[in-house]
Amino acid sequence: MSAIGLKIPLPKSRHVLPGFGLSLGFTIFYLTSLVLIPLLALVLRPFELGLDGMWNAISTPRVMASLRLSFGMALAAAVIDSVFGFIIAWVLVRYRFPGKALLDAVIDLPFALPTAVAGIALSTLYAPTGWIGSILMEHGIKIAYTPWGVLVAMIFISLPFTVRTVQPVLSEIGRDMEEAAATLGATRLQSIGRVVLPMMLPAILTGAAMAFARAAGEYGSIIFIAGNIPAVSEIAPLLIVIKLEQYDYAGAAAVGVVMLAASFIMLLALNGLQSWAAKRR
């Protein structure tokens, strides 16, 4: 008896499961035609127009002011949301209290609520006659129709990102490390400051980066509350819309390219953060 002559034909495909070509082919086709090629149209536009023209379109005071406003306020909103997002995640993970499930569900409201609805609600709320606006008005603080209105809308829209990236990591790390810190003589503050926060840092930064990206690109909820005063409370996405309405495609594309470049940088930063976090596991 010899088994040498027995030849099992190898399947033509290297893959055990079927559908590789079809599923990957469709994925790449769909992604390319609907996302990548249109994005390429934007990326190449400045080259069609000449880089000088693009620079001229961007370097006007109005455009520069709008970019500063969008990115500056987005950074502020990301920082504020990171702080409150961490506190909210901490309360949701560590404390037990009635109504916790409801509170947890409400966090996602800015994801679910259409931005236009959020926009008119925030605008009405913070207007000088609104519930919050009228109280602040007594103290001489104006929010609606000023750059601060932009900040308020950004804080609203980005909050879920910070809570939802920190929360699962916090519940996964458990209390072992804090217990170890306590038995080694650390005070509560030391164990939060030296153990919990550093361990949570990748998650906190990831949440902040996502919050920043969302806030910088946000349009719907902001334009109602901002007042949209050129060079004061006019955000970059609105400027793109205005330029498109004036058929200034080159100008719109120039601002769009800057916004897109920022998105790419944030995406790279996020990927970097992810692999950093993975390494420390």
Binding site: L24, L39, A41, W90, A101, L113, I120, R175, R188, P237
Partner: protein, 283 residues
Amino acid sequence: MSRRLANPTEDPLWLKLTLGIIAVGFIAIMLLLPLVLVFKEALASGVKTFFSAMVEPDTLAAVKLSLLAAAIAVPLNTVFGIAAAWSIAKFDFRGKTFLVTLIDLPFSVSPVVAGLVYVLVFGMQGWLGPTLAGYDIRILFSLPGIVLATIFVTFPFVARELIPLMVDQGRDEEEAAATLGASGFQTFLRVTLPNIKWGLLYGILLCNARALGEFGAVSVLSGHIRGQTNTMPLHVQLLYDNYDYAGAFAVAALLAMLALLTLALKSFLEWRYADELAASHRH
């Protein structure tokens, strides 16, 4: 009996109260107050005004258009999400991580930029605009443009939910089915789908909510033609800008109710199918 000491990882009461009040207060003022205001304003001029604003023909047209756009965009993105997750989770190939990053890309792009790129492709100064105009095909300022915008901004929702879930579940079951003689389609339908159905539903739910609520991208591409190319969120803006606050908040309340329904369903899925969804939420 010893003096009562606290557990070392238990925060002292004063800290619990402080952080609890900060968290609840922030959520109440930042998130709940705007929501309450929407319903209060919607009913401010009476229930009758609310309902008459609802059945106004332009509003109904907006509702219809929004539903139609979502009805096209959501199934397409669902098919895409399944295909992407199948290829990424069940096979090894080079550039996989890069592909996953590209799929996530629309999330980090401003909705207005999403609208802009289609204008640059399909506009009269764009790549395809003049050609398509020759055949009398309109993309911008009509339904196709609105659908494209919706697809772009909701692009990753289903894929994002399914990829980590299916990666987590591995390939064993599908491979077992294949050795038992099941065809690819049978394997997917009978083995994979039952394992991912709640994650899939979850992704579709989020995709749909965003599709119905999208404003920025659609705003760039729709042309804002009242009664024709105005979706619900755009109609809210139109009414608000025309000082028809009762009407604007009536439509807004309808959208807010949809949002609350989405949140309720989402929480239910998270609670009921926590195990299956957990994989997606670790990422």
